[in-house]
């Protein structure tokens, strides 16, 4: 499981660098759904903000879209998993 998790993480990092944001978004949701408590999603969200984000831009100009979306994915998917069980 850990090996799978690491490989998936590396794929997600590659996606952040080489693929459009919506591909990162879909993969992050898949990861949060497949792996138990997928904390890595926060690290990827923060990396995304550092790589592409600028302050004084969209979403009130804070430049933390990645962090906000990763919070929504993590807590949203964890809740969904609890509801499904």
């Amino acid at each position: 499981m850990l090996t799978k998790r690491i490989i998936f993480g590396l794929i997600l990092i590659g996606t952040i660098f080489y693929a459009p944001w919506w591909a990162v978004f879909i993969l992050a949701i898949l990861g949060a759904f497949h792996f138990p408590r997928y904390y890595e999603v926060f690290a990827f969200g923060i990396l995304f903000d550092f790589l592409y984000g600028i302050t004084g831009s969209i979403f009130f100009g804070f430049g933390i879209i990645g962090l906000i979306v990763s919070c929504l994915i993590f807590f949203g998917i964890e809740r969904a998993k609890r509801e499904i069980r």
Binding site: F17, Y18, A19, P20, W21, R37, Y39, F42, I46, L47, F48, D49, F50, L51, Y52, G53, I54, T55, G56, S57, I58, G61, F62, G63, I64, I65, L67, C71
Partner: protein, 263 residues
């Protein structure tokens, strides 16, 4: 007992998580820390993007030998980008060059701006931020606020964050961004609002003469921001809504020029 212990452990984990999220938010929101970490990340990131680009090119040329259809599509894309570049050149070069030369002669100073050519490492399609990452930075004499143009004169944005060998360009078309512009042949002064991916909206007073195909210029430098694509007039409203966009597809931009301000 075990259930109670599990719940307690989960609560602890959630508290640690909440603290981590808050710390992350602070790091991202506090300028100096964000700048320092961004600087570190962007020291290595350009190499990752370049590696990806080189790998993609190699893979494409290898597969091109087997897949003629794919290579034709790629060639078509390259040609499209070249056409975009030439269209942008054609639209502004002739008019603007004459205008600039006349003005400079009138003021008795022939101006030349210092430009740095840079490759685009990651385009606006990569993130919802509407930014470009380019492979030129402080080492090339670039400063925050320098204007970025495509194909000579089509202005697309300005340097927002600067690193040693890379920079982030905030596109003028970013959502919510507002800039003073001159619209049409009458040079009607107005404020353009960014709508993302090279699209803009501007409101001009009722009765203004604006037609599809008119140029929209930025003040200070006569740089073209876009071409009017649609004019929406409603007799009830006191203004005309003009939608315009850049003369080229921003997602296809592969290299840009940074106008380095003389200081």
């Amino acid at each position: 007992m075990t259930l109670h212990h599990d719940k307690l452990q989960l609560r602890r984990k959630n508290i640690v998580l909440a603290v981590l999220v808050l710390v992350s938010a602070f790091v991202l929101l506090y300028g100096p820390v964000r700048g320092a970490i961004s600087q570190t990340i962007h020291t290595g990131a350009p190499a990752v993007w370049r590696f990806g680009g080189a790998f993609g090119d190699t893979l494409n040329s290898f597969l091109g030998g087997f897949q003629s259809k794919r290579s034709l599509v790629l060639e078509n894309n390259t040609l499209k980008e070249e056409v975009n570049r030439m269209q942008a050149n054609m639209l502004d070069r002739n008019i603007l060059k004459e205008r600039v030369i006349r003005l400079e002669e009138a003021f008795g100073r022939m101006g030349e701006d210092n430009r740095v050519v840079a490759d685009v490492l990651a385009g606006p399609g990569w993130s919802p931020y509407d930014t470009l990452i380019i492979d030129a930075g402080a080492e090339n004499g670039i400063m925050v606020g320098d204007r970025v143009v495509y194909a000579g004169a089509g202005v697309i944005g300005e340097i927002a964050e600067l690193y040693d060998t890379a920079s982030k360009v905030k596109l003028y078309s970013s959502h919510g961004e507002e800039y003073e512009v001159f619209v049409g042949q009458q040079s009607i002064p107005s404020v353009a609002k960014g709508r993302g991916m090279g699209n803009f909206e501007v409101k001009v007073p009722h009765g203004s003469l604006v037609i599809v195909g008119d140029e929209v210029l930025m003040p200070n430098g006569n740089l073209i921001l876009g071409i009017v694509g649609s004019v929406e007039e409603d007799r009830i409203l006191p203004f005309i809504r003009v939608l315009f966009r850049t003369t080229f597809n921003i997602a296809e931009v592969r290299s840009v020029e940074v106008i380095v301000n003389k200081r």
